[in-house]
Symmetry: C2
Subunit: 374 residues, 2 copies
């Protein structure tokens, strides 16, 4: 067998989550608790009843590709040819890394704390990985200078998740500008920026930097999973310069052939509906205010929530996040994700999702605060 | 960029198919023309309306995995733990090759004529490929001795599509037994058999060998695409020994995370319905008889159709299949796939699909026969 597959360790997040009981306060969940809008599904059902469910083009349905590109309307990336529709943003990121990086020579730089998938995928592809940790003192703000200082000779791409899973921080406009200005001044082959925008519709600041507005070598990955409570639909996309998309489509064609045609109909309806990908955004904005209040009252140190549906709280000095998460679920019936899952810089932290009913979220935060006071 | 992606050539099949006009007789299509059974979709809609559409476990819904394993009921492969649900059989094959073969040491043996994806996927993964051609004199019957003679020192897996795309031949029971007997007598690490069963429900002989019934080192890939006219649904699976499935789930988890939950509901309904994956089988059986008649009347040399929804006809000696397919679409308005797309052994052949309306299929066969008489 392939040693790179055999060597993949079991997921830390899943092994903690597996301890959840029916009574548990679940602050672990990385998916929306809202119900999806069934109108999108009704549209897709009508399309299937009328036309059956045929393969789409490898790159996805032309009208959907066009609708996605037009909606985001990034410079030089606003045409159908800039989009490859994928099986969720997971395949979007997988195909992006596979297409962009030559295992023989290239290195990926991952901005941490980060969701483990980037490092895992690169390792699976035999691509070298370097990580750069944002500063705890600065509440893990996404810092251009730290990222730039970490670039190595072989670094060909940098992956940034903003709004960030787990920290909830957002790359600011000034930091985004600082980053691309410095990259633009470099000689030699360009360094690509991969912007994972999966939590874009959970943005609670007016100061969000969008890399694709500022720099030509940007690949955006996204999906309907978080914006429209459609995690199980597996409908995502790559949005990038045409020359890159053309290559990515070829890798995508051999990995999964094409995205689900039913899911593409759902997505087409989302993108041609007035509220579209923003239909759940007001709910997150209101809920975020309640959660910020609960955090302030808890006495816990927490990271300001710029975006995403996570809140991160700090454990006492010297506590292991895995031990804490294990004790919390075993003794206090609260599921939280240990920071170590997102890189060593996040060892003293817990990630809490706040999509459960608000009373349960408050209860969970109180139990964690009590545990930290023990 | 990754040279293995950049170097992927454009698809020959797609470049010929792109010449199709609205008037063309389409014998190129590799997907059913039947309408899907909407009852499966209604069931899935009700499930989404009630429960939303959440991520499933990486390996797929437990009840679906169980239903698939029970339905095929291969020895030691009839439990949920033997199934990984995937994004179509394309991802099933991709994940299988990625998991099974170590690019540093292993080689894949592909039985040709074969659909191009096996060679392309292995090349993308930097896995060495060897091919073995079945004999034209023997109408490309799947021949155990030829396969066995082609095994090299580094061969760790053999991929066989039966019923075969493109030839329509089926591995017989005696040849299957001969193959596994010889493999079982070998010393050293086992050679795995990958059985692509995508056309299983288009089987027109009582003498079909199922490798998973005979040998412990078999990985079966399949999907609902061809059996239930659900190509666009992207719902497939890997069926294999538990130890292999456990590793494949890890690769699958990082490639696409999990299969579409809606599609899994559709599939669960298929597998728990009386006709299930056989619901379209009678149509193909009747149609195949009509097509065999048309072929016999045409005067063309053709391969007996054991299975699949393809018929293959021979060109005149020395004709290039790509030239013939190009002339046929350009001058005679018939789309057929050139044999060279399936390996050099199939250079003198055309693959015709017979899912178009029967009068059109007859018309297409007559035009090809007339062209070959020119």
């Amino acid at each position: 067998m392939n040693p790179r597959v055999v060597d993949i360790p079991a997921s830390l997040i899943r092994s903690v989550a597996a301890k959840k009981k029916s009574t548990s306060v679940d602050l672990g969940l990385g998916e929306p608790s809202l119900a999806p809008n069934m109108e999108h599904f009704t549209f897709a059902m009508e399309a299937v009843a009328k036309h059956g469910i045929k393969y789409s083009a490898n790159a996805g349905d032309h009208y959907l590709r066009e609708a996605i590109a037009r909606y985001y309307h990034y410079p030089d990336m606003h045409r159908a040819a800039n989009v490859c529709v994928t099986t969720g943003s997971q395949e979007a990121m997988y195909v992006t890394l596979k297409t962009l990086l030559d295992p023989a020579s290239d290195e990926l730089l991952v901005v941490e704390p980060a969701f483990p998938s980037y490092v895992k995928m690169a390792t699976l592809e035999n691509v070298a990985v370097r990580t750069v940790a944002m500063s705890e003192e600065d509440d893990f703000a996404i810092d251009a200078d730290r990222i730039l200082a970490a670039i190595g000779e072989r670094t060909r791409a940098i992956v940034i998740c903003s709004p960030c899973n787990p920290t909830g921080r957002i790359l600011s406009r000034s930091q985004a500008q600082r980053l691309v200005d410095a990259l633009g001044r470099r000689s030699g082959p360009p360094i690509w920026l991969i912007h994972d925008e999966i939590y874009r519709e959970q943005t609670f600041t007016r100061d969000a930097g969008y890399l694709a507005e500022l720099y030509p070598y940007v690949i955006v990955t996204n999906s309907l999973s978080k914006s429209n409570a459609l995690t199980g639909l597996r409908l995502g996309w790559i949005l990038a310069p045409h020359e890159f998309v053309e290559q990515a489509i070829k890798a995508h064609a051999w990995v999964t052939s094409c995205a689900d045609t039913f899911a593409q109909h759902v997505a087409l309806h989302v993108f041609t509906t007035l509220e579209g990908v923003r239909e759940h955004a007001p709910w997150y904005r209101e809920r975020r205010a309640d959660v910020m209040n609960a955090l302030q009252q808890s006495g816990l140190r927490f990271i300001p929530i710029d975006g995403s549906f996570y809140a991160c709280v700090r454990l006492r000095d010297g506590m292991s996040s895995l031990d804490a998460a294990t004790e919390l679920i075993d003794r206090h019936d609260v599921l939280a994700i240990p920071g170590i899952a997102f890189g060593p810089a996040f060892e003293s932290w817990l990630r809490l999702s706040w999509v459960a009913p608000i009373d349960r979220v408050r209860e969970g935060i109180e139990r964690i605060a009590a545990y930290c006071r023990l």
